[in-house]
Symmetry: C2
Subunit: 255 residues, 2 copies
DNA sequence: ACCACAGGTTCATATAATGAACCGACAACG
DNA sequence: CGTTGTCGGTTCATTATATGAACCTGTGGT
């Protein structure tokens, strides 16, 4: 493994649970030598990818990432377009909506929007890792990903996030078939209790899914009418998003 | 220079003018060996920091940057708080507002907001490099930065961006004194013709400036009344932003 | 047919990464 | 009040890794 890859893997250790970490923690989690980690963190710091807190000596992600992300947005306006689409989805459904992207076998939420219609709402965090088998977004992605990928996930260990999490591979396969037929996947309380999520895949230029668009509502509010509304809106929104970022739906995606 | 630093410096070659680049261009700009650049770009690609276009083989910044930026936002909600502040600034002034951050001797815009009040407005791009001596933001930063830094900038070459750009060090020093007195810096047409910008510094936890908040209006709309409004609003907004990100104004900053 | 330039690859060489041991500072503890 | 453990950071001989000149291969222009 190259030095650069190792250094960048250090950035991957940060998460919501670990927004800042000391040298020892980074060393432990990475399994690398302390001196190595120290030198790499120093280089990352010089480049602005991490910064060190004055009082504590803990590291956290740096502001250069914001600059590069803004530049990436200038090249591919995924976030800004998504935010428009999410805002619309929220307004018409009255529920929380979010967008997630697949990278390196993980599905991560990137941005979200809330509706102010109800006092209660499903809360979201950006940069959270979604489960493939237990979320609407994950199922929507799997349903249209390369067949091997879905099977790989289904044959692996399927975490039971809540008592309601579906972990039976056959029933999950049936859910994927259903999603392929309708273009929309559902998950009820599989990832977080009392959350009913609908999702549709977003496609890239090569007609493969790159992520998903989802609407998450409390199960208590899910009526047949709301369901129908969400399904209609999420489908047109996902389609619009795919098109606006230069992607194409595959022929197999139901119109 | 370490390998990691070299690899990360490749990311710094991307800009609005160069949103995507081929291997040769990266090699030329970086001054490194082609094989070296190739291997580094491959590692960066594997980590999701850059991606390669199918048809063309050009590289562009990758989506992992969005994920890490979202995580950075979770640690320090600079962008999200800024966007709220900018939105308010736009609404009360009716003009374009933006926020910029200093990193490695460069001031870079990170986010902006437009007002819909007027048909014409000052247009902005995120991740654009601002001139220290020719923008309100730059002057606001310099006025409260370490004294040595301002002198270093003033003694260096001062680019003439427009015919109106002030390049006389003594008159710039006077402008900085004025900014120190009032807490607000101004630049009229110094960076882009017909743009009048007001700016106030944003401070970090150590009472040193980390960036600036600015309002940019067409010179033709700049009346004494608008000026007074902008000055009042930008000052309270910058103060609010500083406080909400855990920063502190130095004692020298006029209240 | 030719040239120039593109992206990508090879392999001997040289340079930069590595890791065990070490340092000083700090906090907890009997 | 010394002992112990952990922290961030540093050193330097050893070794693994990065490097770069040269070489493919494909493409577009003339």
């Amino acid at each position: 493994m190259g030095t650069v890859t190792k250094a960048l893997s250090l950035l991957g250790l940060f998460s919501h649970a670990r927004l800042e970490m000391g040298l020892s923690e980074l060393t432990r989690l990475s399994g690398m030598n302390k001196a190595t980690v120290y030198r790499m963190m120093s280089e990352l710091q010089a480049a602005g990818f991490v910064e060190q807190l004055d009082g504590d000596r803990a590291y956290r992600l740096g502001s250069e990432l914001l600059r590069l992300a803004a530049l990436r947005e200038a090249a591919v306006p995924l976030l800004s377009v998504s935010r428009e689409v999410l805002r619309h989805l929220c307004e018409v459904t009255g529920e929380t909506s979010h967008m997630s992207l697949q990278r390196d076998g993980r599905l991560t939420t990137l941005t979200h929007a809330y509706s102010s219609r109800h006092g209660t709402r499903v809360a979201m965090e950006d940069a959270e890792i979604l489960s493939f088998h237990a979320t609407g977004s994950g199922l929507a992605y799997l349903a249209f990903a390369a067949p091997g990928f879905a099977e790989e996930v289904l044959s692996g260990p399927l975490t039971r996030h809540t008592p309601e999490t579906e972990t039976n591979p056959d029933r999950l396969r049936a859910a994927l078939d259903e999603a392929r037929r309708t273009g929309i996947a559902e998950s009820v309380g599989g990832f977080e209790a009392d959350v009913h999520s609908h999702a549709a895949p977003i496609f890239g230029p090569d007609q493969t899914p790159i992520g998903a668009l989802a609407v998450a509502a409390p199960v208590s509010r899910m009526t047949p009418e709301l369901k129908a509304l969400i399904r209609a809106e999420i489908k047109s929104s996902a389609l619009a998003l795919t098109q606006r970022i230069g992607g194409f739906c595959p022929a197999s995606y139901p119109a």
